[in-house]
């Protein structure tokens, strides 16, 4: 197996890796020795063994294990909660869209009604069926589906046309997620994949500079004849994640890490030219996090952070709209009908919703500029209430925390860094936009993962969920390969 067993570059990673290997190792070896193999095989054939034991016997005898049995092995017995979440999601979506249709009473509303037959099966299949036939984490999937459902239902009530399109985006994104899961699980030649993603990423990232138009002070959208209009900076996030994970894991010296750093810096420069500063910030912070995890080098990380602060100050000096953003963060009431309008309307919406919300379809969310994408959190707080808003944020934390525990089981630094990068990126983005909407930090125009309207955003977020699934899958496949019966080995 070429490059199979990688030496961990970082202190943190290697420690975590060792701990995991150490924790799992005795479980199998010890039990293998404890009973006579021949006797156990007999028992297995007679059907007297528990699931975990069956699996072990099977793997000893045949060397082939199904995904369902693998789930038993890795201990993800989350069936009941997942089923509950999936059913709740389905009911929520069905009722929500029904209400939305009743609320709008127009043809678009009727379309939402028809869309129930698309979104509900999609959610159920992806939450309940997919994790059984392929390597996936059912909990992450179910919660992600719920978040998407909340976004779609909200959009269908406040902007039915967008809501219906969002359902299509959601369907396509689920497909992309499955592809990404398979890719991460199966692929061996990361080098080629990373190179391809980097080249393709840079290529599409510069497209808006050539074909794009200035829109809201940024030039980060592009319309292509076949593909339609999309935001390349969303998709390139995947390239960044792979580049960081690959170059930071396989190579230990700074020079060897350089390709990924150069790639990120190139991306940042292009994003700066497009004035897509919010996304640039996400790229930058994620890189910093992955860099620190990979090498554990505090001075260098601090240097990188210092560079970022310098760039931020430079950006503040250079771009007038950054100055406005910061001023409006400090005191939006200084210009309540101009620069501060958006944030004030968001705060008014959140506070008007009260603890339990004005009710679905109630209130006047459309007063907030960008209510359907960046500011959807304010709309959700207005309609569903502040408690619901906080609980939604908690769901993000649960998804990411679950992902972190799964990644910690991983024994390869590449998948580990890939996973941490993904978690960091999703977490940072969620924090940035939520913090911006509630005026905790200056507003940066990024979307709320899974909730905001937008195909590119949905696609990249689901692809990231696919990466997380794939890491689980890869780790399960590796566990299988390292089973005693299969002749694998631990390190």
């Amino acid at each position: 197996m070429p490059k199979k067993e990688q030496v961990f570059a970082g202190r943190k990673v290697s420690e975590a890796g060792k701990k995991n290997a150490g924790a799992e190792k005795p479980v199998f070896r010890k039990r293998e020795r404890s009973a006579a193999p021949a006797e156990r095989t007999k028992k297995w054939k007679a059907g007297e063994l528990t699931g975990r034991e069956t699996f072990r016997e099977k793997s000893r005898n045949k060397g082939r294990v199904s995904a369902a049995e693998m789930r038993l092995l890795t201990g993800s017995r989350l069936d009941l909660p997942v089923v509950v979440i999936a059913i709740l999601t389905a009911v929520f979506e069905a009722l929500g869209l029904l209400l939305a249709a009743a609320h709008t009473r127009e043809t678009v509303g009727m379309d939402s009604l028809a869309m129930i037959w698309v979104i509900v099966p999609l959610g159920l299949v992806s939450s309940l069926l997919l994790p059984r036939i392929m390597h996936m984490d059912a909990l992450i999937m179910a919660l992600t589906n719920f978040l998407c459902g909340v976004g779609i239902v909200t959009l269908c009530t406040v902007s039915p046309l967008r809501g219906n399109r969002q359902i299509l985006f959601y369907a396509v994104s689920l497909g992309v997620m499955v592809l990404m899961t398979l890719l991460v699980t199966r692929i061996q030649r990361y080098h080629l994949l990373t190179l391809f993603l980097m080249v393709a990423g840079l290529a599409i990232l510069v497209l808006p500079l050539i074909f794009g138009k200035w829109n809201n002070g940024a030039k980060n959208w592009v319309s292509l004849p076949v593909l339609g209009s999309f935001q390349p900076s969303e998709l390139v996030k995947i390239s960044v994640l792979f580049a960081l994970a690959y170059y930071f894991s396989a190579h230990r010296t700074f020079i060897q890490m350089l390709p990924a750093l150069l790639f990120t810096i190139a991306c940042l420069i292009v994003l700066m030219l497009q004035r897509d500063l919010g996304t640039a910030l996400i790229y930058y912070l994620s890189t910093l996090v992955v860099f620190y995890i990979a090498c554990g080098n505090i001075p260098l990380t601090l240097l990188g952070a210092g560079g970022g602060v310098g760039a931020a100050i430079l950006g503040y000096r250079m771009f007038a709209h950054v100055k406005v953003r910061v001023a409006m963060w400090k005191n939006p009431w200084s210009d309540p009908t101009g620069g501060g309008y958006q944030i004030i309307q968001a705060l008014l919406a959140i506070s008007s919703g009260g603890l339990f919300g004005m009710g679905l379809g109630q209130g006047t969310p459309e007063k907030i500029p960008a209510y359907y994408n960046d500011f959807i959190f304010a709309v959700i707080c207005e309609q569903f209430g502040q408690i619901f808003g906080v609980l939604l944020l908690l769901l993000y934390v649960i998804i990411l925390a679950r992902a972190v525990t799964l990644i910690n089981r991983s024994r390869r630094s590449l998948t580990m860094l890939l996973g941490y990068g993904t978690v960091a990126m999703l977490g940072i983005q969620t924090f940035m936009i939520t913090g911006g909407v509630i005026k905790l930090i200056p507003l940066t125009g990024v979307t709320m993962p899974f909730l905001s309207y937008g195909g590119s955003s949905m696609l990249s977020c689901m692809a990231m969920i696919g990466i997380l699934h794939g890491i689980t899958g890869k780790q399960q496949v590796e566990t299988k390969e390292s089973m005693p019966g299969k002749g694998g080995n631990y390190h």
Binding site: V289, I293, P336, T337, I344, Q345, L347, L348, A349, I350, S351, S352, G354, F356, M358, G359, G363, T364, K367, Q386, G389, V390, L393, L394, Y396, V397, L400, A401, V404, Y420, V423, A424, G427, F431, T434, G435, I438, K439, L440
Partner: protein, 458 residues
């Protein structure tokens, strides 16, 4: 990583709760909130009553806002009640719209209305003010003058009257809107920032007692002027040798100018901050503009003028009432209350928002000493016209110059309270360009206090 994530989440949730809890009500009531007008189409607005249950404003079946039929009462409470159009953003009709328009209704109440098909009805508010007292004060306010009067129960911290002149008639708003110079829509009690004049000597006095040594044997010879920097603080006549109490009772500017030079910006500023100057007032029930004491060390003469409440020191009448109430409460600073009861459409009482915890602004010994000094003001000082029969009044007058032009009359101030606990009323009177505080403001304060006693407001 996990910890970092949870920390960020907690940060967001903590900030979210903080901002919604402390600012949420203000945001809902904001004139830029389109939801208020929107909600009016669906919800019948609740009524606003005074503390005796007298209905001051209500909505009829068509959703039209109605006001008390007696024009005198209607106008006397006009700024406190406000208008339904949101022109008076600090009025209860706008600032407490979250109750009146049912934003605070629970999900069950809303569901109940939805099932019975009844039009949702907002909560009714019983304010702590007394309409009768407000009307009386308006009637006895010097004719044609502008100004403000606040009466407060310092034991419960309830505002009993907030009268601001000129007043407007909510049934004929356009007339007041046309005359924007008069500022009738503004509540001068909470939004009017004025130089507090000699009433600020209470603050300087507290600072001196707390920070300077040997104040019992303090003596200063007032020669009628006290030179500081390039100017001098002057007095119309020389008071002669003054101890601290007589300087306070006679409101001797030169003595306090001299004290300020000993104290300096920082110490006076500390005391002022303790008493709420430069603080962002975030009271639940009323919007009060922030008072300011200049915290920068500009010049000795600026310091001298600041210490006698001139120059750049600014305060609202309500804030000065709170300072008087703080002295009356032995140094405890309390949040003022305007909501007496919140009554749901179903007739139940809703819980009032929590007030900020009381805090000790002045030590009780200092407060007792200042109280004795303030009683001296009424007994034989500048405030003799505020004296009541059967009750002991403590107070301080102020005559705040507002222009270098001597023909422009000064603002007349009086702040004080009744010492007896069975009539725990604090009062603040401001008459814009009224002249001498002792001659113009003090008699009005006495009338207001007497009326509050007569009405047995508790």
């Amino acid at each position: 990583m996990l910890l970092l994530m949870i920390a960020l989440f907690c940060l967001i949730v903590a900030y979210f709760c903080y901002s919604v809890y402390f600012y949420g009500g203000r945001w809902v009531a904001n004139p830029y909130n389109p939801r208020i007008n929107n909600q009016k189409q669906y919800v019948k607005m609740g009524s606003v009553m005074d503390r005796s249950g007298l209905v001051l404003a209500w909505s009829d079946e068509n959703g039209q806002r109605r006001y008390h039929k007696d024009a005198r009462i209607r106008q006397a409470v006009s700024q406190v009640v406000g208008d339904s159009g949101g022109k008076v953003s600090t009025g209860a009709d706008t600032f407490h719209a979250q109750y009146l328009l049912g934003f605070k209704s629970s999900i069950f109440e809303r569901l109940g209305d939805a099932i019975t098909g009844k039009r949702q009805e907002g909560d009714s508010l019983e304010l702590t003010i007394s309409a009768e007292l407000s009307r009386y004060i308006t009637e006895h306010f010097p004719d044609g003058k502008r100004g403000a009067v606040v009466v407060m129960n310092y034991r419960t911290s309830e505002i009993l009257a907030m009268v601001s002149l000129p007043q407007f008639d909510p049934t004929n708003l356009s007339a007041s809107l046309a005359d924007s110079e008069a500022g009738a829509l503004m509540n001068r009690c909470t939004q009017g920032l004025y130089p507090p004049g000699s009433t600020f000597k209470i603050v300087t006095m507290i600072s001196a007692i707390d920070h300077l040594p040997d104040m019992d044997n303090f003596a200063f010879e007032c020669t009628g002027y006290y030179p500081v920097g390039h100017y001098s603080v002057t007095e119309s006549s020389a008071h002669g040798i003054q101890d601290l109490r007589s300087a306070f009772a006679n409101s001797c500017n030169t003595t306090f100018a001299a004290l300020s030079q000993q104290l300096g910006y920082k110490l006076i500023g500390d005391t002022a901050r303790q008493l709420g100057f430069n603080e962002n007032f975030m009271f639940n029930d009323v919007i009060v503009y922030n008072s300011s004491y200049p915290a920068d060390d500009l010049s000795p003469e600026d310091l001298a003028w600041s210490s006698i409440g001139q120059g750049r020191v600014l305060a609202t009448p309500l804030h000065l009432t709170l300072i008087a109430a703080t002295i009356a409460n032995k140094g405890i600073f309390r949040e003022p209350r305007l909501l007496h009861r919140i009554i749901t459409a179903g007739g139940q009482e809703r819980m009032l928002p929590f007030a900020a915890p009381d805090r000790s602004a002045v030590s009780s010994e200092t407060a007792a000493r200042i109280e004795a000094d303030m009683m001296e003001v009424i007994r034989r000082g500048t405030g003799t016209r505020a004296a009541l029969n059967n009750y002991t009044v403590a107070g301080k007058t102020g005559t705040a110059e507002v222009s270098n032009d001597k023909s422009v009359a000064a603002h007349a101030w009086f702040v004080g309270y009744i010492r007896e606990k069975e009539a725990p009323y604090a009062v603040c009177v401001l008459v814009e360009n009224g002249g001498s505080g002792g001659r113009v403001a003090a008699p009005l304060a006495r009338r207001a206090l007497q009326k509050a006693i007569d009405l047995k407001l508790n």
